[in-house]
């Protein structure tokens, strides 16, 4: 832990929190992926795309202009590691995700602002945020890896694309948001 941070640190925390949001479906385990051809991100890209990660996922859904976090969280902005309500920046983030016990720096790394951190201090890329989510949500993580939790698209017998956890769940407020349903069917008596 580095020293004291100024009020500005708050700014750092907030973007980091936003980033944490996309811990959804990154591609990082090989063993469990089925023995079928590895699934590169999009439909039929060349083989080199495979290196994107163990799980083909879309890029994290950052808010515009929020990443890289180090744009603002640089040397000029001292880190304040004191848990507090953010006011100087990122005050739009309402944490509804075990907020009694956690705050920004539990998931966002204080020293490397462009990275997330696991409970053990391991740095995690935003593109692999599912690893971070998987620390607590191990059952979902297990299901996600085999395509049972969350959505996989593509070919049932071939290449598939995952979604990151954060594509569906706002990491700061993960409950799935309600949506407008499509119209109900026409009742039989109204079909001519």
């Amino acid at each position: 832990m580095t020293g004291k941070a100024g009020v500005r640190a708050a700014r750092l925390f907030l973007p980091a929190a936003a980033l944490a949001a996309w811990n959804f479906l990154a591609p990082s385990f090989a063993a469990e992926e089925n023995a079928r051809p590895p699934a590169p991100p999009t439909a039929p890209p060349p083989a080199e795309d495979t290196q994107a990660g163990e799980y083909p996922v879309p890029p994290p859904p950052f808010s515009k202009g929020i990443f890289p976090c180090t744009e603002c969280h640089n040397k000029d902005l001292p880190v304040n590691k004191t848990r507090r309500k953010l006011e100087a920046a990122h005050d739009e983030i309402q944490l509804h995700h075990d907020e009694q016990h956690r705050w920004c720096l539990d998931c966002h790394d204080a020293d490397n602002r462009d990275m997330l951190r696991s409970a053990s201090g391991e740095l995690i890329k935003f593109a692999e945020s599912y690893k971070l989510c998987g620390q607590c949500h191990g059952d979902k993580y297990r299901d996600w890896k085999v395509g049972v939790h969350g959505k996989r698209s593509g070919e049932w017998n071939g290449r598939k694309t995952y979604l990151l956890c954060v594509n569906c769940h706002d990491p700061h407020s993960p409950k799935y948001k309600s949506i407008t349903p499509m119209p109900p069917p026409v009742r039989p008596e109204n079909i001519r």
Partner: protein, 315 residues
């Protein structure tokens, strides 16, 4: 003619000699019928005649299939003014399709219903929808009699409800197939129950037999807007249907039977990932994982239809 050679007579009784130049009643009927048929066929186009004499799809081989496909592609392309492809891809070896639907995830948004309509060229008017989403009360559990398919709140999911989408359950023991008098519907080797629209006579016995309400009848000529036509068709799936035939979900046979088989349209459309699809014979598939790890139930199990459509609770 034939009767004359083998008249129906009692044994030991000589047939009464017929006055020369007279037709028997039987001969008269046969000649009239033949005449009527030839007049009818003479009035048909060549394509119409081919369609009239077309064998069952299952009995067609090689060149005959190509001919039928070419005829259909021409017909549809002319009707819609754009190139249409009709596939006749057969089932792949070692594949048995299975479907999973996570009732703990479905939010009842009906995105699947409309994706299916688009993908499968379902009639917009009169409206046909292969997927029906039933709203159920959490307190009552899965109770079909109390369910509502016409719910229309501003937002879903509603706090007191859960949703159970239904469609063809792709039974291993399909009652609809048993009752078809023309064998126009059958189960393919990959488990998909299909219909040959050219052999369906529209008797709707299958609709009466299906306990899931999964079969739908074209009461009127189906309408598909030109700019919404899915030109990628399969003979046994989403090709254009005429009035007077029955149709049903085919697991998007035109998608799943491609060499790189895509997920069915409903799977791709589901915003919450509640819909799962895969090969039941592949231990690595997600559907097998579900059967292994989750609590699964099948719909109306007591009817012994043995669906390949599994409802499950992921949590």
């Amino acid at each position: 003619m034939k009767d004359r050679e083998t008249p129906i007579v009692k044994p030991n009784e000589k047939p009464a000699p017929e006055p020369p130049g007279h037709l028997t009643r039987r001969q008269f009927l046969a000649v009239s019928a033949a005449g009527a048929v030839s007049v009818f066929l003479a009035g048909c186009t060549k394509a119409g005649r081919e369609a009239f004499f077309q064998s069952r799809f299952k009995e067609l081989t090689g060149k005959d299939i190509d001919k039928v496909i070419a005829r259909l592609e021409k017909e549809y392309s002319e009707k819609y003014g754009r190139a249409v492809s009709v596939s006749a891809a057969p089932a792949a070896e070692g594949v048995l399709f299975g479907y999973g639907l996570d009732l703990s995830r479905c939010i009842g948004c009906r995105r699947c219903v409309y994706a299916c309509v688009e993908e499968n060229n379902l009639s917009r008017d009169p409206q046909i929808q292969w997927i029906r989403v039933l709203r159920m009360n959490k307190e009552r559990g899965v109770d079909i009699m109390e369910s509502d398919a016409y719910y229309n709140p501003a937002q879903v999911p509603e706090p007191e409800a859960f949703y159970m989408p239904t469609a063809c359950q792709q039974c291993r023991n399909p009652p609809c197939v048993k009752v078809c008098p023309t064998k126009a519907t059958w189960q393919e080797p990959d488990g998909i129950v299909v219909i040959d629209y050219d052999w369906c006579i529209g008797c709707r016995c299958c609709m009466a037999a299906c306990p899931y309400g999964a079969r739908h009848f074209n009461w009127g000529p189906p309408t598909v807007p030109k700019d919404h036509l899915n030109a990628h068709m399969h003979y046994l799936g989403n090709r254009l249907r005429p009035r007077g035939v029955v149709e049903k979900c085919t697991f998007c046979i035109q998608r799943v039977r491609e060499a790189n088989g895509h997920y069915p349209a409903c799977v791709e459309a589901c915003p919450v990932g509640a819909r799962k699809f895969g090969n039941l014979l592949d231990e690595q598939s997600e559907i097998r994982y579900i059967l292994r790890e989750k609590r699964v139930f099948i719909f109306k199990e007591d009817l012994n239809t043995q669906p390949k459509f599994y409802y499950f609770y992921a949590t």
